[in-house]
Each structure stands twice: as C-alpha cells, then as structure tokens.
Symmetry: C2
Subunit: 338 residues, 2 copies
C-alpha cells in the first residue's frame, strides 16, 4: 500500500509500504476513505519538532473495515467507521472516567495518511456509522476524528452553557470547530477572534455572533466591550502560544473558564492573574471516543456540518501539496482521498 | 472602641481606635460578636509580607447591626449578620455572574479584629440570620465569613460530584472545611492529606473516609492506591506552596480537576502535566456572598458544624496570644470574643 512518510522539514512523500496486518486480537485494519493533515503535523514539517528518521505520519481518518482480529466484537468488515487521533480501550478506569485521550492502553498510529491503517483497540476506538454514508457526509465524519472533537473539548472544558458568552481564540480548523461546538452547546454570544475574511465567513456560518480582528491588549478590550465590560464566561484557547494563552486568560471574566486545546508552547502561565481573577484553565488532548456517539449522530442527522473546515481536497498522491498549502496558509485544512 | 493593629512581625496589639461611622449611604456599622485570625493574617505576622506601618487587621466577623446608612434596605439595626472577607455589591455584572470576590465595587475592611466594624456595600455583603442565634451556633456562623466558604469554593472549583473521589491537600482550617464541603456535595471517597492526629480527627468527623500522612511522591502514590490507580476526580488545594500545588495536580486523575484556594506562592505551574494529563485548575478568593444563603441555612438547620475548626477561644484582649498560638501551631484557628 502507499503511505505518507515525513523525511524532514518540508519533505513529505507518499511511498510504498508493507500492508498493515492484524497483530493483536483487538486490532482492526481499515481501508482509508479519507484522511487529512493536522496543524500539529506541521510542527515537524516546519522543523519546529525534529524528525530524526523517516516516519509515517497522520492521525485522522475515516474508512471501511477491511479485517478485524478475533477479539473485536463491535465493528465488522465492510462497515464505515470513524476513529479518534489516539486509540482507547474504552474500558480502563481512565476511559470510564471519560478521559479517553489518556487511556491506560491507548496510543497512536503508524501513519494514517495512507491507504490502509492498523487500528489497535478497535472496539474502544472505532464507531461505525448506521449505514454507508453518502459522499457529502464524508468530510464531516472525518472532522470527528480530531478537529471537531477537539473544538468540542475546548467548549466543554471552558464550561460553555446555554446563553453564555464565549470567546474563541484561534481561527484555524480547531478554532472554527470550537465556534460550532459553542453554538451547539447553546452559547448566547460567540466572539471569534479572526483576521482572515474566509475564516470569519466560516465562523459566522458556524454560529459566531461577533468577529474581533484585534489581538493582544486591543483584542481583550474589544472582547470586554462586547461582554458587559467584564470578559466572557468561557474562552476557547485553540492556538497554544504564549500570546494566545495569555490573551485567552485575560479575555475571561472573573470566575470564567478557559478551555485549552492548542498544544501549549508557553513559557509561564500567569498564575497570579488566574488565581486573583478566579479564572480557571482546563483542557488537553480531546477524549474523542467520549464525544463520538453524540457528535456522529449530529452529523448523521445533518444537524452540524463540521466538514466545512476542509477547503482543499486532494488525492493522497498530492500529500506534499496538502502540507505546503496549509503551511503557506493557502488552505485551512486539507482533505486527502486515496 | 478597641481594635487590633499589626505593627510588624510578631507584634499585634489591641489598641483604642476611633469608632467607625456611616460614611457612605450603603454602609453599615456592626458590633462584633466574634472575629478570628486567618492563616493569611500570619503572613504579615511572620514577616513574609511586609508591614510598612501600623495597620488594622482581620477580615472575618459576625455581629449585630448597630447602624445602617440611608440606602441600606436588607439589614436593620439589631439583626445578627454574617459578612464575607471581602465586601460585594451583589449587583454588578461580576457579582451577577457569581464571582463576588471580584466585585467591581468590592473591597476589604479597616480591621475586623475589633469591637466595631464598618461594612461597605452592606446590602450586597451581609446576610442576617432568621433570628438571634443561640450561643453554640456562633462559631459555625463565624466560619462562614471565610474559611467554610473558601473550602466550599475549593470543592466547587474542583467539580466535586456525588459519588466522586476527592483529595484534600492541607489540613488547616480551610482544608478541613474543604473536607466538610466535599462531604456535603456528596463525594463518595474523601482522602484527607494530614499528619496531625487532632486534625485527622476533625477531618474524619467532617466526612473524610481516608487519611494519608505521606507527602510528595509518596503522598501521590498513596492517593493512587486508593483511587483505582489513577488519582482522584477532584483535588482541593488548600495550602498554596510549590510543593502542595504540584502534589495536588499530580493527585488528580487524567481529566480531573484541582480547585485551588491556598493563595499561591508558586514559582511555575507544571503546564505540560496539566495539558497532557487533562488536569484542570480553577479557584481563587471565594465568592462568599454567592454561597452564604445556602451555607447559612445548613448551619441554621444544624446540618453542618463548620465551627469545629476553632479549637481556641480567647477574649479579644488576648489577640496577641491568638496569633502566637496559630503561628506555633498550638491552635488550628483562634476565635476572638470582644
């Protein structure tokens, strides 16, 4: 089969690789229907994170079950399935507590930007659709593999409530998904921080009531003007830089909550601000399997269309161009079809 | 009247001071029935926080209303009242959001370890008891002024839920109050971290199901052994040192929540741990007025007895001994009677 290998900065290649096989009885092998490139894949592409040797890459996918191990009972060959960016057994104490991203037996993949994928912990990771999805649902189902669940996690961690005020810091695919999540959770006012017209448009389509283009102090002031002078009940931090995390914490009202899902590259959290302003911080990698049944149903019922974050679709053979387009911000998020 | 003045490290004196008067129409003047010494008062007593000039001290009290300003409508002279350690107007957007400790018009006191106290924002700060309390209720009503509401805030911020597992770091008056709060909120297992037999006894009386004397790594391991190997759903941080905050964060299970109310003296929050383990952190000064109606009712109905944290009662004239006893850990918390 063909799979994507990252060799170093700005060097991703689709190469011939051995077909994955069932190794453990709890494995499944999936024939990929769609995969995509994650903002976090770009760290290695950009050389921010070192690539020490050629490495299979990609962790988002939907596909059709090709084969299952003898212990797998919840999915069977031929079913269309969605799986999260980390596997989970859905039975350990951590999963039972709802924190599937931290599953005691979970882990990653040997590259999902590929034609075939080995999925460990198949029963605890995969969820099958009720029947074969129509073609137009594929992007939204794929979005559940990471980006939509990650935006949802930000909203849940930020304690978004019906009628509440929400700020979303970051207008990438996760931030936009966070806007959609906040809207689904009933937020009354959703302020998207964005300076790109195309992303602003999706944010509004997803439910943003206001858009603020300013950043830093000016951005915080603009948020306060829109929130009774005090800041938002809930802030979704979907970037992960020093500036964005501090801006998020300062955009929350006293007693408010920040949900952070942008992998943090922060030198120091402003703990004095957090404590004295009673601003909380919660988040991390999303427990996809916890959110999947609910969100898959919403997609299946065409209640939400998170696949709108994909503004570029390419054949898997053009994976290098998918990375380049995202790296150069010509695309928000690129979908790959084998 | 007589009021307590701190002059410098280990130098508190009861001195003659002018009687407080109504200054703003929203003021009340209270004749103190009981006051007490807070752990945070000890920072100045111990010289950790500088005293630049003689300063009135104390912020916890119950008393009888002596006089009210013309704008005060909710309390009247003769009523027995409880007020929080910070005043609040209970009407600004921040108070309406439930974060009374951060009230836009709130503030402190000109010393509550005194015979008379001026209370600004009387309507938004004070709550009257249904009638004059019997003497034995006074300590528990006084506890609502700070320590019990602070423990309650830790439990609320740590998202304590019915049946959940809870760790309380710190066995001072706030930590013990946190144990009581967790029990009232229905926690299934409450692990008190304590190495003092007298405090362990109160913790058990307040609802602790387990006591762990170890600290640091050994403490975290002991907690995990009691919590399915994963850590607690909720951790109440009631100390505020580097060691205790890190221990609290490490005692939470993946996806768990730490409520912090110990004023932090932390060099750096372990953000990598927080993010990758999905452990949240929320807290700060407690919004007393938000919790007061509920907690006052629980005390009035004799459902809880938070006043048990007072293990020393002295006349106000012996305020210096009250500080010394707490400083030397001869007392958990000292109650003062004018």
């Amino acid at each position: 089969m063909r799979g994507t290998i990252i060799h170093g900065p700005r060097d991703v290649r689709l190469e011939e690789r051995p077909d994955p096989t069932i190794v453990d009885p709890t494995d499944a092998v999936i024939r990929t229907v769609a995969a995509c490139v994650c903002g976090s894949d770009l760290w290695r592409y950009r050389g921010i994170q070192e690539v020490t040797r050629p490495t299979p890459i990609g962790h988002e996918y939907v596909g059709v079950v090709e084969e299952v191990g003898p212990a797998v009972t919840s999915v069977r060959p031929g079913q269309f399935v969605v799986g999260g960016f980390l596997t989970s057994d859905n039975t350990c104490p951590v999963c039972r507590a709802g924190a599937h991203a931290n599953c005691q037996h979970g882990g990653g993949y040997d590259g999902c930007q590929a034609e075939l994928i080995r999925v460990r912990n198949a029963d605890g990771t995969l969820l099958a659709t009720p029947e074969q999805p129509s073609e137009d649902l594929v992007p939204s189902l794929l979005a559940l593999s990471d980006v939509m669940c990650t935006g949802w996690h930000a909203a849940v961690c930020a304690d978004v409530r019906p009628g509440g005020t929400v700020v979303v810091v970051g207008d990438g695919a996760v931030g936009l998904s966070g806007v959609l999540a906040a809207a689904e959770l009933g937020a009354g006012r959703i302020i998207a921080m964005s300076r790109h017209a195309d992303r602003q448009a999706i944010a509004r389509e997803f439910g943003a009531t206001d858009v603020v283009a300013e950043r830093g102090d000016a951005g915080v002031e603009a948020v306060k003007e829109l929130t009774n002078g005090i800041g938002a009940d809930s802030v979704l931090e979907c970037v992960g830089t020093d500036e964005s995390v501090v801006q998020a914490l300062r955009s929350a009202r006293p007693g408010g909550m920040v949900g952070w899902v942008g992998v943090p590259h922060v030198t120091d959290l402003p703990q004095e601000h957090m404590f004295w302003k009673n601003v909380g911080l919660r988040g991390g990698p999303a427990p996809v399997r916890a959110y999947l049944p609910d969100l898959l149903q919403r997609v299946w019922d065409r209640g939400i269309d998170p696949g709108k974050v994909f503004d570029l679709t390419l054949p898997l053979s053009e994976v290098a161009e998918a990375y380049a387009a995202m790296d150069e911000r010509r695309a928000i998020k690129a979908l790959l079809r084998p």
